[in-house]
């Protein structure tokens, strides 16, 4: 344990905000970042009752509400004077086709993924510019790059995220702010656990590695993109998909 404490983490004393951090991929990212020395603001709609790991501050927030973003970023600035990493991970799964989709569902999907990520960027980017740099990671999906059947709104939102990533990368690079995305393939999360088993089976059958990924697989990719290791990397969408996109 003592040996563990002595190792300088790869995000030593960095201040990170991770949305959708209470479960699944977000939770793995929160834990992985904290393990590597970061102070992590973990945002979610529903705040878990269990004790968070050291260095993790759990805050209730709706990413589609600007005032929630303002409150969290103000708190981080008051406490630490900086925000080094933003992970726009919050998402919801919907499976309706274009013709089945209601306006309410469409709006909610766009609000959480697309508007939520934009509001996060709007609040955090000025702080990163002022402090001389930072790293943003947007959680896209292979559905942001290629098509699977159904889940129309999800594709729309994830496609927008890859495009927003590229634009923000080019716009803020002169201020040393990097913006990248991750495109997960099939990852075992509460979101995929509730969907039709046939969909999951078909997805895995089309994945060359032949198995589902774990939230930790995504967290390790996010760690690389968040850390100094990737300081010459911006505007990319990193596929962590068991080879789904390769064939």
């Amino acid at each position: 344990m003592a040996e563990r404490e002595e190792r300088i983490g790869r995000l030593h004393r960095q201040v990170a905000i991770v949305t959708g951090g209470a479960s699944g991929i977000g939770r793995a990212i929160v834990e992985r970042f904290a393990e590597e020395g970061a102070i992590v603001y973990c945002l979610d709609l529903e705040v878990a009752v269990h004790e968070p790991p050291p260095r993790v501050r759990v805050r209730q927030a709706d990413v589609s509400r600007a005032s929630d973003w303002t409150a969290v970023v103000e708190e981080a600035m008051d406490d630490y004077g900086r925000v080094d990493v933003l992970v726009n991970n919050a998402g919801i799964g919907t499976w309706e086709t274009a013709t089945e989709l209601s306006e309410e569902t469409w709006q909610r999907v766009i609000d959480v993924h697309q508007k939520g990520s934009w509001l996060g960027l709007r609040e955090v980017l000025p702080k990163m510019v002022a402090q001389g740099g930072g790293s943003v990671i947007n959680m896209s999906s292979i559905c942001g790059l290629v098509a699977r059947p159904e889940a129309f709104a999800y594709h729309a939102a994830k496609g927008a995220l890859t495009s927003m990533t590229r634009n923000a990368a080019v716009t803020y690079a002169p201020s040393a702010v990097r913006v990248n995305a991750i495109a997960p393939g099939f990852i075992v999360t509460p979101l995929t656990n509730v969907q039709d088993a046939a969909i999951n089976d078909e997805f895995i059958a089309r994945t060359p590695l032949g198995h589902a990924g774990s939230p930790l697989d995504i967290a390790n990719g996010a760690l690389y993109l968040a850390s100094h290791e990737s300081r010459f990397v911006t505007g990319i969408t990193l596929a962590i998909d068991g080879g789904y996109l390769a064939q």
Partner: protein
């Protein structure tokens, strides 16, 4: 295979082969793998005594990556010492900037042999060895010249496009064996290779790069090591661009 919580020491107990390891990016890659615990066998077309001293690697095999018997010697060196191969970094590359009309067969074939045929033979040579031990990770060093129409470097650009395709084929073919194959696509990096360009070309490249600078070999190494390590155990057939955003816009 499950994802690893790496950090330093991501390559403890792993055996890695690195080609083009005598200088620049290859040497930097070897040093980093060794620092993180790997046993590294170096390959280069040049005599490598100097390299060995600089990197503490225990063996150097002098061979040309476009020769199959050279690969057999390289693989045998690893198997003799360690009995396994976990990582292959196809880093060796040849570069000579020349526009289409001035390229010709000789140059095209020379770049083809080193940049395209070499990695293909390398993957074919290590695949059976990795398969026996349940998997491995292959990282091919392509280039952003393989991502767009890079004016003035016809033959090089073509081989780097080809290497991307080859990597995806290998990823698809070898996934069942737990062998992952990925590409790193560096942009303009501060190594001897960039020195072969006209200064005006490099200046124009940097001006077009959103992060407004040339990359460092270490930054490519970090990407390579992420893909080589178990931290990326669910990543295969992927491409990691390390170019300061130059190809984003």
């Amino acid at each position: 295979m499950t994802a690893a919580r790496g950090g330093t020491g991501r390559f403890e107990g792993r055996v890695a082969l690195v080609t083009g390891a005598a200088a620049g990016q290859g040497a930097a890659t070897a040093r980093r793998l060794i620092a993180e615990g790997a046993d590294v066998i170096l390959g280069d077309i040049e005599e490598g005594r100097q390299v060995r001293r600089r990197t503490d690697a225990e063996a150097t095999v002098v061979f040309d990556v476009c020769e199959e018997d050279g690969w057999q010697r390289f693989v045998a060196a690893a198997l003799d010492r360690h009995g396994r191969i976990d990582v292959l970094i196809n880093n060796a590359g040849a570069y000579e900037p020349r526009p289409l009309e001035e390229t010709g067969t000789e140059l095209a074939m020379r770049l083809f042999r080193t940049n395209q045929l070499g990695p293909m033979l390398g993957m074919a040579a290590v695949a059976p060895v990795m398969r026996r031990t349940g998997g491995g990770s292959i990282v091919n060093i392509s280039s952003t010249a393989g991502l767009l129409g890079a004016a003035g470097i016809a033959a090089y650009s073509a081989t780097k496009w080809a290497l991307r395709g080859l990597s995806k084929v290998a990823a698809a073919e070898l996934a069942d064996d737990g062998i992952r194959v990925n590409c790193v696509l560096p942009g303009l990096i501060d190594t001897a290779m960039a020195g072969l360009n006209r200064p005006a070309f490099n200046r124009a490249q940097i001006a077009r790069t959103p992060l407004r600078r040339i990359g460092a070999a270490e930054e490519v190494v970090a990407a390579t090591c992420f893909l080589a390590s178990d931290e990326s155990s669910y990543v295969t057939g992927a491409e990691l661009v390390v170019d300061g955003g130059a190809t984003v816009g």
